[in-house]
């Protein structure tokens, strides 16, 4: 796990005359999304990577969540290319329609 320099680490680096090899903003920019109190009755998105095993896994997760939490809707979409990030239009569409999104890697 990479450490982002807080006050104590900055002091230790300074005491030793060392510089940090990281960009702290890059690490602090990425945080887990806010957690919902419940997903009961919510709209779930299921973002696949176009790989056959990922589709199976996501379909199974979607069925389980539907059974246990009575989702209002489940929206399954795939990225255009498995080795690339999801395109903005896919992200925007899921963000506008879903309360939460599940994604996975499954090769």
């Amino acid at each position: 796990m990479v450490s982002v320099p807080g006050a104590e680490l900055k002091t230790r680096l300074s005491d030793l005359g060392l510089l940090s090899p990281i960009d702290p903003e890059a690490y602090s920019r990425w945080r887990p999304a806010l957690r919902l109190e419940t997903i009961h009755g919510k709209v779930g998105g299921f973002l696949g990577n176009r790989k056959a095993n990922a589709s199976l896994l996501l379909e199974g997760v979607k069925e389980l969540l539907n059974k246990d939490y009575e989702l209002r809707d489940g929206i399954a979409v795939d990225k255009y290319v498995y080795s690339r990030p999801a395109a903005d239009d896919i992200i925007d569409d899921l963000a506008s329609r879903c309360d939460f999104v599940v994604t996975c890697i499954a090769d």
Binding site: S3, L13, L18, D23, Y82, R84
Partner: protein
């Protein structure tokens, strides 16, 4: 300011381990004065952003790259190569995000060609993929440290490589122009032979090709067979691929009149497996009618069709390196993206 002499070496090394900023090996403490020398050598401003490295998008400034290069054990003179390698990897054709986060076993390889390879003593001869040369070891390591520390490709977290690769510590080699009977690697992309350049390529570990005789066609048939095994990811993802021809093999190929484009064409036509055999590799990922991203001329529904290892002959890249006297060449399977070559701009 604290000079490097005043730093408690043990404490500094321990702190680098504690913070998770090393590759698992000790690093040279990146003291302010040491880093400043590296930045000054480049002639650039330390705050200049060279790249925003994926997956996390860390800003790789000249100073931060210098910190990672110091840690790797580089000399200041290596900075131009390290910077050029990172710039080349940002080319969209390389798909650095995918390269660094995939479950595959590739890792970025840095290939240096042109006069700078000799000037910096970057090894392209005996043991060129092995240990023993400071330039190879530390340039490759600086790039890898930057990709992890600045890019955030953290093993087991954002980097999902199933097994990883020994080259994730360092993977840098030179093309040896003294033994290369053909034009340098970087001329493939239109650079002058007198230029120095960095080529980056997501490569698996070298796969040996042993061939004891001196028949060009037989050698290339052996090479083609090595390239198209059923477990080779190339057969399913169709990225670029590399053949590193050893000096002995290069000599008789050249004497027989084979040019690099002839070699590429031969390997494209002969490094093939049938659709029937490739079905053992599992169902296609992507468009089922196109198989595993195969060329359009392959009918994925015809078991008898032969599938090449790449989509087109010019996706097979040829370079010359290795020690004299051995009957060896090597094959470097890729991953699914392209090789990128960039001229080195010296300070």
């Amino acid at each position: 300011m604290v000079s490097s002499d005043a730093v408690d070496l043990g404490d500094a090394i321990d702190l680098m381990f504690e913070t998770g900023w090393t590759d698992g090996l000790p690093v040279v403490p990146p003291t302010e004065d040491r880093v400043r020398k590296f930045v000054e050598y480049t002639g650039r401003d330390g705050s200049e952003v060279i790249a925003e490295l994926p997956p996390l998008g860390g800003k790789a400034t000249v100073e931060r790259i210098a910190v990672n290069a110091v840690m790797a054990g580089c000399l200041p003179e290596y900075m131009s190569v390290v910077i050029t390698a990172l710039q080349a990897m940002m080319d969209d054709r390389f798909n650095l995000r995918g390269v660094m986060c995939s479950t595959g076993i590739h890792t970025p390889l840095v290939i240096v060609s042109g006069p700078i390879a000799k000037e910096l003593d970057i090894n392209g001869g005996y043991n060129c993929f092995g240990a023993g040369w400071r330039a190879n070891a530390t340039i490759g390591r600086a790039v890898k440290l930057a990709l992890v520390n600045l890019g955030g490709a953290i093993p087991g977290e954002t980097n999902k490589a199933t097994f990883g690769h020994p080259g994730a510590y360092t993977y840098c080699v030179a093309e040896d122009q003294e033994i290369n009977p053909w034009e340098p690697l970087h001329t493939d992309v239109g650079l002058d032979a007198s230029d120095s350049a960095v080529t980056v390529f997501p490569a698996e570990a070298p796969h040996n090709i042993m061939y004891h005789a001196k028949n060009s066609r037989d050698f290339l048939s052996v090479t083609a067979d090595t390239m198209c095994t059923l477990g080779n990811v190339q057969m399913y993802v169709m990225g670029d691929t590399f053949v590193v021809i050893g000096p002995e093999h290069a000599r008789f190929l050249h004497e027989d009149g084979w040019r690099k484009q002839d070699i590429r064409q031969f390997l494209f036509e002969h490094a093939r497996k049938s659709v029937r055999e490739l079905k053992h590799g599992g169902s296609p990922q992507g468009d089922a009618n196109r198989g595993h991203f195969w060329p359009r001329f392959v009918d994925a529904n015809d078991d008898g069709q032969m599938v090449p290892v790449v989509r087109a002959a010019d996706r097979i890249h040829i370079m010359v390196a290795g020690g004299r006297g051995g009957p060896h060449s090597v094959y470097l399977p890729g991953w699914g993206s392209r090789r990128v070559t960039k001229k080195i701009e010296l300070p």
